[in-house]
C-alpha cells in the first residue's frame, strides 16, 4: 500500500489553474504547493488564497523545485508544450489541461518525451469524470451494448462563452477547444476502434456577424475502421441568456444488444431567481433562469467543489500518491483527439472528406 507525499506545482493561475490549486490544497496527500503564472501578481494572489508555500512569475522555477513531484499545467492552450516537456524531463508526474497541444507536431514531441521520462503524463479531459459518462463507460466495459454500430454526441453552449474564448485566443474554435471532450469520450467508449474518415459541414451566423472567423454550428460524421458511424455536433451560438451555465451535451450509443441515451442538458434542475446567478467563467454574465449542474467544470456547494474537475483532480492525485490506476486520458489518446478535431476543421474548410491518419 503505497502512500506518497505530494508536492504539486500549478503552472498557470487562471480559472482552471485556480480550481486545480484549490482542489490540490484540500487533498490529504499534498504537503507542498507552488504556483506560477506569467503574471507574477496573479500567482501570488492565488498562492495566498490556497496557502501555497511558493509562488513565482517563472514556470521553470516551480517545476524544478525539489519538493515538487507532481506538475499541473493549466496555462492557455498554445502554451502547454514547454512546461509539459520540462516536467517530463525532470521525471515528474504531469497533468496537462486539454487539448494536449494545438498542433500534431507539438503533440508528437510530447509523446516522444513521455517514452524517455520516469514521470507520467495525463491529459485533463475532465468530462470523463462526470458521473453519467463514467457510468456509460462501465456499461460498455461490461458488454451491455454488444457491438457498437453508431454513436451521436452534441454539445451546445452560449455565444457569451464563445466570444470570451475567441477574445482570449482568436485562433480557438469550439471544435478543437470543446467538441474535443466528446471526441475524447468517443475514443474512450469505442476503444480499440479507430476513426478512418471525417466529413463535416459548418454554418455561419451570429459569430461571423460579430467579426470572428468561426461558424455557429458544425456537424460531422465520422466513419470508424470497422464501419461504425459517429455523428458529432457543436454549436457555441446559443443566446447569451440561455439557461445553461456551461455545456449542454448529449450522447447516444447504439449497439447490437442495447442503446444508451445520456441527457446532459440538465433540464431537470431548474432555478429561476430574480437575483441572478453568476456564470462560473464569465464575470459580468448572470442569468435569471439556470439549469443547475450545467456548469462544465462543476459547482461550489457547502464549501467544496463538486463535479468533473474535482473528481478528475482527486483521481489523478490519488494515482500519483498511491499508484492506484486512474481513468484520465493518456497522451496517445489525447493526440488522437487532437488529430480528429483538426480533421473536422479541415473537412469543413475544404468541403472534402478527410482520411485519417492526417499527413502531418
Amino acid at each position: 500500500m503505497r502512500r506518497r507525499q505530494l508536492g504539486v506545482a500549478i503552472v498557470g493561475a487562471g480559472r482552471i489553474g485556480a480550481m486545480r490549486a484549490q482542489l490540490a490544497a484540500a487533498h490529504p496527500a499534498v504537503s507542498f504547493i507552488a504556483i506560477s503564472d506569467a503574471d507574477a501578481a496573479r500567482a501570488k494572489a492565488l498562492a495566498e488564497k490556497v496557502g501555497a508555500q511558493f509562488h513565482s512569475g517563472d514556470n521553470s522555477a516551480i517545476i524544478s523545485r525539489p519538493e515538487v513531484n507532481a506538475v499541473v499545467v493549466s496555462t492557455s492552450e498554445h502554451e502547454h508544450t514547454a512546461p509539459v516537456l520540462e516536467g517530463l524531463s525532470l521525471g515528474k508526474a504531469v497533468l496537462v489541461e486539454k487539448p494536449l497541444a494545438l498542433e500534431l507536431a507539438d503533440a508528437d514531441r510530447v509523446l516522444a518525451a513521455t517514452k524517455q521520462s520516469k514521470g507520467g503524463l495525463h491529459v485533463g479531459y475532465s468530462r470523463r469524470f462526470k458521473r453519467r459518462y463514467l457510468l456509460a463507460k462501465e456499461q460498455i466495459t461490461q458488454g451491455r451494448l454488444g457491438t457498437i454500430v453508431g454513436m451521436g454526441a452534441r454539445l451546445y453552449n452560449s455565444r457569451a462563452q464563445v466570444f470570451a474564448m475567441l477574445d482570449r485566443n482568436p485562433g480557438a474554435t469550439p471544435v478543437v477547444d470543446s467538441l474535443t471532450y466528446y471526441v475524447d469520450l468517443l475514443g474512450w467508449y469505442l476503444a480499440g476502434n479507430r476513426v478512418a474518415e471525417v466529413w463535416a459541414r459548418g454554418a455561419g451566423g451570429v459569430i461571423r456577424e460579430a467579426g470572428y472567423q468561426c461558424d455557429d454550428v458544425t456537424w460531422a460524421i465520422l466513419r470508424m475502421a470497422d464501419g461504425a458511424v459517429v455523428n458529432l455536433g457543436v454549436s457555441f451560438a446559443l443566446p447569451s441568456q440561455y439557461p445553461s451555465l456551461g455545456y449542454s451535451g448529449r450522447i447516444e450509443i447504439l449497439g447490437t444488444k442495447g442503446v444508451l441515451i445520456v441527457d446532459d442538458d440538465h433540464r431537470e434542475q431548474l432555478l429561476y431567481t430574480e437575483q441572478g446567478i453568476p456564470h462560473i467563467y464569465l464575470p459580468g454574465v448572470s442569468v435569471n433562469m439556470a439549469f443547475l449542474g450545467s456548469s462544465a467544470p462543476g459547482d461550489w456547494a457547502a464549501g467544496d467543489f463538486w463535479g468533473p474537475l474535482a473528481n478528475e483532480t482527486r483521481a489523478w492525485l490519488d494515482h500519483v500518491a498511491t499508484g492506484r490506476p486512474c481513468a484520465l486520458t493518456t497522451p496517445a489518446e489525447a493526440r488522437s483527439n487532437l488529430e480528429i478535431t483538426l480533421a473536422i476543421e479541415r473537412a469543413v474548410e475544404t468541403g472534402q472528406p478527410v482520411s485519417l491518419p492526417l499527413a502531418g
Binding site: 453508431g150 466529413w199 451570429v206 456537424w219 451560438a237 447504439l254 447490437t256
Partner: protein, 350 residues
Amino acid sequence: MGAGRIGGLRARLSSEHPAVKFLAVSDKDPAKARDLAQKTGAQFHSGDNAAIISRPEVNAVIVSSSEGAHVEPILQAIELGKTVLVEKPIALSLPDADRIISAAEKAGVSVRVGYSRRYKERYLIAKEQIKEGRVGRFVGGAARVFNLRSQATAILKRNPDATPVVDALTYYVDLMSWMHEGVKVKEVFARGQKGVLKESGFDTEDVSYAIVTYADGAVVNLGIAYSLPDAYPSRGHAARVEVLGTGGVIILDDDHTDQIMYSEKGVPHVYLPDQPVNMVFLQSGTPGDWALGDFWGPVAAETRAWLDHLAVGKPCALATAREARATLEVTLAIEHSAATGKPVTLPLAG
C-alpha cells in the same frame, strides 16, 4: 383506400367527423374492407379500389395503401376530380411523384401528403415560434428518430424499398424543411452502419446519419436508428428536434421519457402481439393513442385538419405534393450517399 393500421385509423376518424356523411372503404383483401366497414359504419366496401374512388357520393379520397401502391389510386382520383390525402411518402420514386404532381396541377386537384408528425403539437408550436421570428435566422438544426428493430423488419417485409430512411426519417426531413420553409436542399451526405437488421436478412443499416446543406448555407443534421432492442420502452418514434437560429434555440425532446408506466400485466407490443412489454413510455405510439374511446394524436389532428379544410375551407398545414417530392428527393439522396460513400448534390437527375 387500404384497410391496414393507418387506413383503419383514417376510416374511424372520418366516420366520426361532423361533415362526413358517406364512407367507403376498400382493400385488396375484401374481407378486411368488409370488417373495417362494419366497424366504422361505412356505407360501402369493396376489394377494388377503383370502385370506391368512382362512387358519386365520394368527393375526398384517402390513399392508405402500402408505400409502393400509391400512384395509380391517386391518378384515378385526380382524373375524377376528387381531392386526395395520401400517406407518406408520396411515392417511392421521383418519376412517380412527378406523375402525380403533373396530373394534380393540370386538373387543379389538391393532393396533400400525410406527414402527420407536423400535427404533433410540439412541432406545430415550434413552427409557430419560427414563423413569429422568435429564433431569428435559421442557421442549423438537428433531428433524429429511434425505433425498435421489429418496426424496421415490419416495414421492410411490407415493401423492401421502404427503408427506415425513405419511410420514417422522411418525417423528420419534412419537419426540418417545414421549419426552414422555402429553402431548397443543395447537398446531402450520409453514412450508415449495418448490424442486427442485416443479420435478420435485410440489407439495411441499423443506424444512419446525414448532413443536409441548404441553399442558404444552413446545415441540418439527421439521424435514424430503427434497430433498438424490441423491449425498449418506446412504442413508436423516439425523436428529438433542435433548431438553432441567430436569435434563439428550440430544443424538443420527443422521447416520451417523461411518461413512464411499468406494468406487471404487460402491454401488447405494436408489431409483436405475443411479446407484451412491461415498461412503456406512454404517448410514444407514432400515430397516436386510444383513450376513452377516442383516438388522440398526430394522425387524429391531421385527419381532422384535412377534413375541416375540405368542409369549411379552413387553411391546413398538411404537406403539399411538391413539398413531399422535395422530401422524397432528400431521402433518396441520403440512401444514395450512404451507398456510395460520397456527397450527393441536388437536384437528383430524375
